[in-house]
């Protein structure tokens, strides 16, 4: 894997977040949350800076990043698509919807399309089980999604207009 060189600004940002949490090892998860929310993902280079700042081994940081599914080492697509795979959505056909997304985008869960527009992930229950099956695109929630609606949802974002009505 080729190494990315972090911009000076990014390194400053990481350092300032670490300082904000007192450079304490026990604050690692909070630090990771903050940095991921700012940078979008946590590549190895970022983890190295964090490890140095918190005075711990990179292996430990890596261990934590890979343990929790919320943290990602890969950049997300411009429009991250998440399919709810909680039980309520599953029994109401979430798997079929997921299948359609995979087919239309030509990617697997955890991947991003070549043009960087969409990435696909699964999550467990967003708390809108009444609207099952549920799909999230960015922060927008789509409820009662049928496999036939999948292409329409994708098209919305391809043209760059966001106004299709659902549920």
């Amino acid at each position: 894997m080729t190494k990315i060189k972090l911009a000076e600004k990014t390194i400053e940002l990481i350092k300032s977040v670490c300082t904000q949490f007192g450079n304490k090892e026990s604050e690692l998860i909070n630090v990771l949350h903050q940095i991921q929310s700012k940078l979008g993902y946590l590549p190895a280079e970022v983890q190295e800076v964090i490890a140095a700042e918190l005075n711990m081994s990179v292996a430990k940081v890596y261990g934590v990043v890979t343990f929790y599914s919320f943290f990602t080492m890969l950049p997300q697509g411009e429009h991250p698509i998440s399919i709810c795979m909680g039980t309520a959505c599953y029994v109401r056909g979430g798997e079929k919807v997921l299948h359609e997304f995979k087919r239309h985008l030509g990617i697997e869960v955890g991947q991003t399309t070549a043009d960087g527009k969409f990435s696909l992930s699964c999550l467990r229950c967003v708390g809108a089980c009444g609207l099952a099956p549920v799909v999230l695109v960015g922060e927008k929630v789509y409820g009662r999604v049928s496999p036939q609606q999948v292409s329409k949802i994708i098209a919305e974002y391809q043209e760059g207009c966001v106004n299709v009505q659902t549920a």
Binding site: G86, R92, E100, R124, C125
Partner: protein, 597 residues
């Protein structure tokens, strides 16, 4: 401040927000302002009303009118008709499916009639972002009573007497847990609220935090007073942004009012609360894993003892309770242990909140007295099975639980009965399944979840579950043998007996319980290579009945891969080599011409 005489309550739970309840609220406010009513009618956003199926919900007080499925555009009619002219908007009232009559008061709805709301007492009634409304509903009275009138041990005795058991799944007596932590000597102790809610398909704890965060804060402070802790921590999933926001607002307000901080209510009791974020790991709901995660480590469980009550967060005595457990505390103190103990069954007191979902008409959040039967929950509150299908099973306890079948419809629900029936109370997920659900697939679904979530520390859980999954997969492909069925059972038992934490110990439950109750379905897959529910793709193919096909072309137009051909008004055919078995044609056909073979 303006004196409002009418209040419009708009649901601000996650489900209703997803259906544009924010826009609805804004529209209501604008319309009121158009009529110059902004100082007489207040629009409030509350927590979840529970009736998520028909969201967004709007309730008007004082007359208690309950509107369902309200769209942003309906704001004008609500203001112009109901508020201005006092005429109810008929078409937004709930229609009772039994007699097609419109019901205008939520108290008359079957969905609410059998519910008893203790933990959810304020959800949907107050604005969760305004501490005054909580205080106006007996809020922080319990904390005041404890600090003024009771010694810590007296409060603990009261909780013990109430019979309250932990709502996080295990059902450990709460008073006893507090007592144990109280007795340990230490310079620092911690109160932890477990808001990790990992069960996929459950949203009880989040709804409480979104709808009534102060009740949890108040209870944590009471717990701190009882066990001698000055610090509390809430461990909450980062995936719950709204609950986090409301909790933060509530913490600030409580501190401002002197209900958190130093010398609370003039006493010498100090207590503060911090928030810690989970990062998407189910195993972190297990208390030792949760504590490691709060310390910034990988959330791997460790052996008990030592229990957290002896050595928990930062090695200090720590009392971990679930969100719903905490939400029950203030009412117990306000209304007395006897009142609480009068609700429920002999060994399970009080109520339980369930997230009712799946193939049921009224999906939503419900709170019912312990001892209610499944039949009442599913048919009276839940309104029966969707689309008139036949009930098959209900799954409780999430990935650690099991399925209950028709035979258990009249069993009173409590901790012990559910265990005896091969399931468990769990944290409150209740998923209803109908004739179209394949039980082999359901077992496989839960196993897949466990595989994802096992922390990998113990071999039986990490590898054993993988093997279980592979066998199930083989069966769902029609390639299983009778020997595989025996292996499933044996391996399940080994995993249960030899895993370290609750996750591994309970992970084979969905397999065992489906084997016990739905052996015929396993046999159909293995011996006859058939999936009776028509779910296992490898075992089915779609065909069109020439006699019934009218050539309407609906299937042809909907097939996502163009596998269907035929002349208009003539019979259609499915090309098996192209068909991806998505089942859309079956769903779409109005003439019952698509068949599964």
């Amino acid at each position: 401040m303006a004196e409002f005489n009418t209040h419009i309550l708009v649901c601000g739970g996650t489900g209703c927000k997803a259906s544009q309840s924010d826009l609805l609220k804004a529209n209501l406010k604008n319309r009121l302002a158009d009529h110059g009513l902004q100082n007489e009618v207040q629009v409030l956003q509350t927590g979840c009303f529970g009736f998520c199926e028909k969201g967004p919900i709007v309730k008007i007080q004082p007359d208690n009118t309950f509107y369902v499925s309200v769209e942003p555009k309906d704001a004008i009619e609500i203001v112009d008709e109901h508020i201005l002219k006092g005429r109810k908007v008929e078409h937004l009232l709930f229609k009772d499916p039994k007699n097609d009559k419109r019901v205008d008061d939520s108290k008359q709805m079957d969905f609410y009639k059998k519910q008893v709301r203790i933990a959810l007492r304020n959800c949907g009634f107050i604005n969760p972002e305004n501490i005054d409304e909580y205080i106006g509903n007996d809020g922080y009275a319990a904390l005041g009573t404890c600090l003024e009138n009771y010694k810590p041990t007296e409060v603990i005795d009261l909780i013990k007497k109430s019979g309250l058991r932990g709502r996080g799944g295990g059902g450990f007596p709460t008073g006893l847990k507090w007592e144990i932590t109280n007795k340990v000597e230490a310079d620092q102790k911690y109160v932890v609220c477990n808001a990790d809610e990992g069960d996929p398909g459950a949203f009880m704890d989040r709804s409480i935090l979104e709808g009534d965060p102060h009740s949890v804060i108040e209870a944590m402070a009471i717990c701190g007073y009882c066990i001698g802790a000055s610090k509390g921590l809430v461990y909450i999933r980062a995936e719950y942004p709204l609950a986090i926001k409301r909790l933060k607002v509530a913490l600030e307000q409580a501190a401002e009012y002197g209900l958190l901080g130093k010398n609370i209510l003039g006493s010498d009791f100090n207590f503060e609360i911090e928030i810690r974020y989970g990062a998407g790991a189910f195993v972190c709901g297990e208390e030792t894993a949760l504590i490691h995660s709060m310390e910034g480590l990988r959330g791997e469980p460790t052996f008990k003892p030592p229990f957290p009550s002896e050595s928990g967060y930062m090695g200090k005595p720590t009392n971990v309770n679930n969100v719903e457990t905490f939400a029950n505390i203030p009412p117990i103190i306000n209304k007395g242990a006897d009142w609480f103990a009068s609700i429920g069954t002999e060994k399970s007191k009080g109520t339980k909140v369930f997230a009712l979902a799946g193939k049921i008409n009224n999906v939503g959040l419900i709170e019912v007295p312990m001892g209610i039967t499944l039949r009442e929950v599913i048919y009276d509150i839940g309104g029966g099975i969707k689309d008139g299908k036949e009930f098959k099973a209900v799954q409780t306890g999430g990935p650690s639980g099991g399925c209950l079948t028709k035979d258990f419809l009249d069993t009173p629900i409590d901790y012990d009965n559910l265990l005896a029936a091969g399931s468990m109370m769990g944290s409150g997920g209740m998923i209803v399944m109908d004739e179209d659900d394949c039980m082999v697939s359901i077992a496989k679904f839960y196993l897949e979840f466990t595989l994802d979530e096992s922390c990998g520390k113990c071999t039986p859980c990490r590898i054993g579950n993988k093997r279980l999954y592979e066998i199930l997969d083989k069966i769902s492909q029609g390639k299983g043998t009778n020997e595989d069925l025996d292996k499933l059972r044996l391996l399940s038992q080994v995993i249960k007996d030899s895993s370290l934490c609750g996750l591994g110990q309970t992970s084979p439950n969905p397999v065992l319980s489906t084997l016990d109750h739905f052996m015929d379905e396993y046999v159909a897959h293995v011996d006859h290579h058939k999936c009776p529910a028509g779910q296992c793709k490898a075992l089915l193919s779609y065909h069109i009945d020439e006699e019934k096909c009218t050539g309407c072309t609906l299937c042809f137009r909907n097939c996502p891969v163009g596998a269907i051909s035929g002349e208009k008004r003539g019979p259609h055919y499915i090309d098996q080599s192209l068909c991806i078995k998505c089942g859309i044609c079956l769903e779409k056909c109005k003439f019952d011409a698509v068949k599964i073979a």
